[in-house]
């Protein structure tokens, strides 16, 4: 006998189904507002409607899977570590946003990521991050002439 009830472990499949339905809805809404028309055949929104349908079918598939298939097993996660990486990425994004430059951003990114993986020596890691960021900056901006974002610190070079 297969027990047809929603087990807690099957919740991810239901969540995925809900996400798929909402993305399909957004896609449908976006496609319905498209105005460009092709002379012959299909318009630009044909593919959008198709993908919308595809997403909806997959959503239904996930709903079925949630009640039938074996639950998707997930290991315990260390959410604190995830949080530190989020801080690390926000550090980079923030420093680019505020025009503080690539070196500071990458130093924050490096040090907080290292923190996520269990390092406690934040100051040392920040220094390593600054040196690394600077080397990368000089290499790319001077040698390969790519434009990494500059802040007050980078303009000294």
């Amino acid at each position: 006998m297969i027990e047809r009830s929603l087990k807690p472990a099957n919740r991810p499949a239901v969540v995925v189904a809900m996400v798929l339905f909402s993305v399909a809805a957004v896609t449908y809404w976006d496609a319905s507002r498209m105005t460009a028309r092709a002379t012959y055949g299909m318009d630009a929104n044909a593919a959008a409607y198709f993908i919308c349908l595809f997403l909806a079918v997959l959503g239904i598939g996930h709903l079925f899977a949630a009640f039938q298939a074996l639950p998707i097993e997930a290991e315990d996660a260390d959410w604190k570590a995830i949080g530190w990486i989020a801080v690390a990425l926000s550090g980079l994004i923030g420093s680019i946003w505020l025009g503080a430059g690539f070196t500071l951003g990458s130093a924050l990114l490096f040090a907080f990521t290292a923190r996520a993986f269990g390092r406690k020596a934040l100051i040392v890691d920040l220094v390593i991050g600054i040196v690394m960021g600077l080397v990368v900056f000089l290499l790319f901006n001077k040698l390969l002439s790519l434009a990494l974002p500059q802040g007050p610190f980078e303009r000294l070079f």
Binding site: V16, R37, G41, A46, D76, I93, L109, M132, L144
Partner: protein, 499 residues
């Protein structure tokens, strides 16, 4: 022979000193990055793309060839010494290779992997050189509907046929296709799914998606559970050279692996997992010492490693002749080509013949360089494996985000990168394959174009796909490939009940 003349011309381009240096740098940094745990060839190529931005197309594509082969080789080193395969195709290498390393035979395991890769890539690159011209002759006659059929096959095989569950593979593909919608439509200029954000008008960069899913996603995934599973590389003790017995057990496995790997890679049949597993089971059956399998049998490294490399070279056949990427690595390579406004496909062979043959010749050269550089440098690669995880992942994230802002200096791009990282993490956590999303993003818009061009040419008649036998057959193949796993799934469930 036509191909030989063209190849000789290619070599005359590739052996120019500057290009040789590009190839050497590519091989070196490709291996160095590929060796790092958790970084497979696709991510290696994506991370190192910005390095080649400002070179001339010839030089950068040659460097690319080196990075590609270097990344492949580096991945097998990690699999053998650390038991963390950077990609699914290296899983089998880790199986026996890691056991060999644990019993003090890490040297011969690395050697048979390196020489096997060399032999396989050599044979497969020759096959590519001879197979490509006739294929191009066929491919130039392809109409949009044929391309559409071909892409359907690629979609299905990449996502549905071989993954752990077709539903998850297709969901990953749908995510990529959905992202492919974003931006200005190429045919009408209609903005799709841009939500009024001007930075989205250009669409989503394949490299941003690949780096987000692979690098940031992997970092989050490892961070979320690193406390429970610390890993250390196994030191390489004793001779790195293979004994006479090792040679006699390896060489047939290399050749068999190549024969299995190349055709599967060359058909748009997706994935190097199949040939590596096939080769593994084949070697196990044919081995003189089958009892060693499971505790470190050298054939179990030699065969799958050759199969992996042969199939990787095989994926270059559809990529170069049809512009059809059938693996995540190939998708990232295609994105790299597009950066120089080079569109792989049959026209590439007529418009940029020198480039294509220079690339093929560089693959040979990169292959030789790998063999010469890597065995003596094993010590260096092992040192790279010792970088503490916190610094390693800190460095990976810095390089990942650097590549993204170097290509497109905007906060929106970084936010996209982070968002893809979160999605990549969740996909890993709940066992969704990542590669179909990357392939979907790059092939989606191409399939959309092919579809609408076909319907335009038929003046709006959708039957155009079924009226031409070639496209009708391809659509039928795609449909069968889509439905087959669901049928087999029922069968396998039935078999499970019997056990």
């Amino acid at each position: 022979m036509d191909a030989i003349n063209l190849l000789i011309e290619g070599f005359s381009l590739a052996i120019q000193p500057a290009n040789l240096i590009f190839a050497a740098i590519g091989v070196f940094i490709g291996t160095a990055v590929g060796v790092l745990p958790g970084i497979g060839p696709a991510l290696t190529v994506a991370l190192l793309l910005p390095v080649t931005f400002k070179l001339d197309p010839g030089g950068s594509i040659i460097m690319f060839a080196g990075i590609y082969y270097g990344g492949m080789y580096g991945g097998s080193t990690t699999a053998i010494l650390l038991n963390t395969p950077g990609e699914s195709a290296a899983v089998v290498t880790a199986l026996e290779g890691n056991k060999m390393a644990r019993s003090g035979r890490g040297g011969p395991a690395l050697a048979t992997a390196a020489i096997g890769s060399f032999v396989a890539a050599l044979v497969a690159t020759f096959a590519l050189a001879f197979l490509a011209p006739p294929l191009v002759k066929v491919a130039v006659k392809f109409a949009p509907w044929d391309y559409f059929g071909l892409m359907l096959i690629a979609f299905v095989t990449v996502s549905a046929t071989f993954g752990s569950s077709p539903l998850r593979g297709l969901t990953s593909l749908a995510f990529g296709l959905w992202l492919g919608l974003m931006g200005l439509d190429q045919l009408t200029g209609q903005a799709r799914l841009t939500f009024g954000v001007p930075q989205l008008l250009d669409g989503v960069e394949v490299t941003t998606l690949a780096v987000g899913l692979f690098a940031i996603g992997e970092a989050l995934h490892v961070a979320s559970r690193h406390l429970y599973k610390p890993e250390k590389p196994i030191p390489v003790k004793g001779s790195i050279w293979m004994t006479g017995e090792d040679w006699s057990r390896s060489w047939k496995a290399w050749l068999r692996g190549t024969v299995v790997g190349f055709p599967i890679g060359a058909l748009p049949a997706g994935g190097a997992e199949i040939p590596t597993f096939l080769s593994y089971t084949m070697e196990k059956k044919l081995s003189r010492k089958p009892e060693e399998f499971g505790s470190g049998a050298i054939e179990g490294v030699a065969g799958p490693e050759a199969a992996n490399n042969a199939s990787a070279a095989g994926t270059l056949v559809p990529l170069l002749t049809l512009g059809l990427p059938t693996s995540a690595t190939a998708a990232v390579m295609l994105a790299g080509f597009q950066q120089y406004n080079i569109q792989p496909g049959p026209l590439l062979f007529t418009q940029h013949a020198d480039l294509v043959w220079g690339l093929v010749a560089s693959l040979f050269i990169a292959n030789v360089m790998l063999l010469v550089l890597n065995l003596p440098l094993v010590g260096l690669w092992v040192k790279l494996l010792r970088i503490p995880l916190p610094w390693l992942y800190g460095g990976i994230l810095v390089f990942a985000s650097m590549g993204t802002i170097a290509a497109n200096p905007s906060v929106v791009e970084l936010l996209l990168l982070s968002a893809f990282g979160v999605v990549g993490f969740l996909m890993r956590r709940y066992d969704y394959p990542v590669a179909p999303a990357v392939v979907g993003l790059i092939l989606g818009p191409l399939a959309d174009n092919a579809l609408r061009r076909s319907v335009q040419m038929s003046l709006g008649d959708p039957m155009v796909f079924l009226e031409h036998p070639s496209s009708a057959i391809m659509i039928a193949v795609a449909t069968i490939a889509l439905i087959a796993p669901f049928v087999f799934k029922g069968l396998s469930r039935f078999q499970q009940d019997e056990d």
